[in-house]
């Protein structure tokens, strides 16, 4: 793995002891597609004219995830929690500092460039901003067909046919292929971005806030489209978003991130029915009520999210936590399964 800025000398915020079960310890399921182990992405902070490294932003600080074929894992958290960095590191778009990502059993970080390019066919991404992520000088057909040309999978008549089929697949008319991105609305552009991601028939797509830039009535269209494509094509999604209601709607499992770490992970239904980590409880109670007559029993975290450059010692949430006690600033809690449910993991001293 290439990690030029590995902060070997940087003080780590008490990494979990070796062998600590920071991830589901159960045997891997047979249909395991993606296995992320203790992933860390730290960005150096440079100051002064010599650009000396004065510290590290621990954007992703030891997360472990598993995703099965055809399933959706939601990654939810507020801005700056590291969810986008995590998604891009998994795709090797950003170099990892430590940890491992296995896709169909192969170590993504260890692959030589030619193998990596072949693997990338199967791992795609959809971006948040449907305006910034499409080249304004290319036609829609050019944008969607480019991955097919780059990977030498189609040309000529075949390429045109496949682009037309992709456009139909995402609910756009094949007649649009000669138009440019600016001629489309936000929702249509997001469909174009999805068609591009689908061009190489991937098995796994990172959806990075795919609906948060869209109008309310269009968001449901795109969520339903992603749902349908998953059923038809057997896709697995890593669905990254800040909105717990959206994430729990589309996901089979949900992982809640705070300051670079996963603080709670569970099947979506279980998480909604009984969140255990104080941060998840805060996030859930902060969602605006769906009806004006619902009681407003809100747990508001104190203050604001601290900087990932200088995270608090112990549990990263303790300065804001309404239930913090003396153990919280002293000891980093581990992400451990609940005794009552092995698929519900919580990183909180109150629970273990």
């Amino acid at each position: 793995m290439t990690a030029p800025d590995a902060p070997d000398s940087a003080p780590r915020a008490a990494p979990p002891p070796a062998g600590a079960p920071s991830a589901p310890a159960a045997a891997p399921p047979a249909d395991l597609l993606l296995d992320v182990r203790d992933l860390r992405t730290h960005f150096p902070v440079r100051r002064g004219i010599l650009g000396r490294t004065v510290g590290y932003v621990r954007a992703v600080d030891g997360i472990s995830l598993r995703l099965r074929r055809g399933r959706t894992l939601g990654l939810v958290g507020e801005s700056g929690c590291g969810k986008t960095t995590a998604g891009r590191t998994i795709l090797r778009l950003i170099p990892a500092t430590a940890g491992a990502v296995r896709f169909e059993g192969r170590d993504v970080f260890a692959l030589p460039p030619a193998d990596l390019r072949r693997l990338r066919r199967h791992m795609q991404i959809i971006f948040q901003d449907p305006y910034g992520s499409l080249n304004p000088r290319m036609t829609v057909g050019g944008i969607i067909g480019e991955p097919l040309k780059v990977h030498r999978l189609a040309r000529g008549r075949d390429l045109e046919d496949r682009v037309a089929r992709l456009l139909e697949h995402v609910g756009l008319s094949p007649a649009y292929r000669n138009r440019y991105p600016h001629e489309f609305s936000g929702g249509q552009r997001q469909r174009i971005g999805i068609a591009r991601a689908l061009a190489l028939e991937p098995k796994f797509i990172v959806c990075d806030e795919p609906i948060s830039a869209l109008d309310v009535s269009i968001q449901a269209q795109i969520l339903n489209l992603l749902d349908r494509l998953q059923d038809e094509l057997g896709l697995a999604y890593l669905f990254i978003a800040h909105d717990l209601a959206v994430v729990s709607h589309i996901s089979d499992d949900v992982a809640v991130m705070y300051l670079g770490r996963i603080v709670e992970q569970a099947p979506a239904d279980r998480l909604y029915a009984g969140p255990l980590h104080p941060y998840t409880k805060c996030l859930m109670s902060a969602i605006p009520r769906s009806r004006p007559d619902r009681p407003r029993d809100r747990i508001v975290p104190r203050g604001e999210v601290p900087s990932a450059l200088n995270p608090p010692p112990g549990c990263p949430f303790h300065p804001r936590c309404p239930w913090a006690f003396d153990r919280c600033p002293a000891e980093v809690p581990l992400l451990l399964p609940m005794p009552s449910a092995s698929d519900h993991l919580v990183s909180c001293h109150l629970c273990h």
Partner: protein, 337 residues
Amino acid sequence: MTNDILLRVQGLTTRFFTDEGVSRAVEDVSLDIPRGRTAALVGESGCGKTVTALSVLRLVPDPPGRIVAGAVRMGQGDLLLLPEADMRQVRGNRISMIFQEPMTSLNPVFTVGDQIAEAVSLHKKVGRAAALRETAAMLRKVGIPDPQSRLREYPHQMSGGMRQRVMIAMSLVCGPELLIADEPTTALDVTIQAQILDLLRELQADIGMSILLITHDLGVVAEIAHHVSVMYAGRIVEEADIQELFDSPLHPYTVGLFRSRPTLERRGALAAIPGTVPSPLAIPPGCPFHPRCPLADGKRCAAERPPLEVKRPGHTAACWYADRAADMRTRGEDLYK
């Protein structure tokens, strides 16, 4: 005008005369804002909700924009007829506004204290020391800890939530009767959004100002509004008190907005409104929603625009088939299948 109505918008029509044609941003909008209460204007981007607010304050850029008809009554007079010098006294003193992105609304080269104190001394004609004292008191009121030292900070030194608190402090420091809040929490994280909505609710209970809330988010509406008007393609298509609207939405667009929203309680497929919001340059004839509407009949809906009529007590809607939408709901049928 009854005494419990602070501001009454009547038949407001604002258009933009552009090279591509006439953009009908706001068409015949009427709206009452009660005293000490929150009226919400809900709609998607381009529906005209922000232009309505800017028209009330007469801040529509002219050219290309122009208020071509209507009245905005506050007290005895019509704000649209006031001389510009008098209007300047209304802005800030009687009506103030906060925006979605607090960073772009604050001047980056002045300290927060100087910016708010400037507003105080301009509007209240007091000296700098007195203005700074009032500023510090207001910052404390909006929940900013240690206001004396925060006064000397620049906007970039603050987080998004703190900046929005500063904007709220600045907008309330002259004691306006009406606060227009345009997507006040859209740029904020959900836990910070909850803090800001709580703050607005507390300040209203404390100071008693009216709020015109402009938002696309029915969840935010459920949190703080008392009365709701739903806008689509420049017009109000439905309005009612908050509980009535959430209990029995009548316009198919409102029903669709509710059904397309993922909530924690309801799982399963979402109802998506097909198609996209029309451009204000090319609003469909007849009912502007008919090309996307599951109830549209293809004849009357495409030809005649339905008037905004009272369908139930205190509940108006602009739809030829509002009764059918209501019947379907009582039978438990889904409009968007």
